[in-house]
Amino acid sequence: MRLTGIRRFHFARDAEEALSLLAAYDGGAALLAGGVDLLRSPRGDIEGVIDITRIGLSYVRESRGGLAIGATTTLTEILASAAAPAYAGGLLASALSQVAAPPLRNMATLGGALVSAHPWADIPTVLVALGAEVRWQGEKVGKAPVEELYGTAFRGLFRRAVALEVVLPPWEGAFAHEKISRTRYDIALLNACCGLGLDGEEIRWARVAVGARPNRGERLPWAEEALIGRKPGGELWNEVQRLVESRVEVGDDRRAGAAWRRRTAGVLVRRALARAAQRGET
């Protein structure tokens, strides 16, 4: 544990109390959900920790054909829920079961992953691909697509607001997630999440997102456009692979080089499209 300056610990009774405590510390406090990121953080300015795990934000509910997941729901709770396994062709079951080792999944929460939004993380890529929305309570209750939020200075927002819920919309079709990491549960060197909806022999809608480029997951709208109205199959997947290799924005970091990422992004998108199409057929 690296967060060593904690002087006071509070169990918030509700989001309002968490917010008034945050305000009272004037930047010197942080919200605690799973704690995996917070307690590993070397921040020296945190005196107060406000636990929000007991304010009723741990749930997975079916909502208008999609899912509503409370911000403090752990990844294990999502995987064990009745509603999540069938959603989006089993995307959550396959993607979340590859995020970190089981004891960390017992701790890490969906809201924490959304707010921490590490560029190498799988969950932001999945949320962006799915068109997820987040609901929060700050001075007012707010709601925004995760994709839009990630384009803003969202970290500042969540220093003054409590993430309440992630809403995953209904999709008639299936998604698949692909990840390459050094070991199964290591952080991704690259990840991709793709979804397809079929209308007979044609692709009606498509979602393609690639993350850990090394930047955070983003959709590739030009790849989606290349898929819509086309006949699904190996030929098309290969064409989109080449397109992704030619246009995806990637970079170097200490874990992987840009050239490798460029080539691999195409491969991961091809694999994810093929699996999504296969899941959509069953």
């Binding site: 544990m1 904690i6 002087r7 605690l32 307690l39 590993r40 920790v49 970190a100 089981p102 960390l104």
Partner: protein
Amino acid sequence: MKLSFELNGIEHYLDVEPGEPLLSLLRRLGMKSVKEGCGTGDCGACTVLLDGRAVRSCLMVAPQVQGKRVMTLDGLGTVNDPHPLQEAFLECGAVQCGFCTPGMILVAYELLTRTSDPTPDDVRNAIAGNLCRCTGYVKIVDAVLRAAEWKREGRWR
């Protein structure tokens, strides 16, 4: 601050510092099976069960266990009365230096409370976040499968 929680079946009421790592508290209470390895949640040496789920005690502060049940390896079995899972580790030669063993046994225990018939892959996935620098993992996987077999035979208490 005041803290009350159940540790290995015994209720504890005590004063803790709000920022005291759970790992330190448990060792202060004599639970020396809980080891500090990396201190950042990566190695699994500090694993304990919280309400039956394996967690990293190095990434928790003591107040987080208020009103909850914590189990360490000390609560599973003793030298004179080891749990079958501990016996399986000994029988299969899955213990060498012993530093990772408490964490390994506790993640295996969590797995075996959910299933009595795990595949070798299930076991590998369960222990994937726990590092062993001595034995390699083959004997540890063997030990968990052996313990599962004993569980199916009704030899667990």
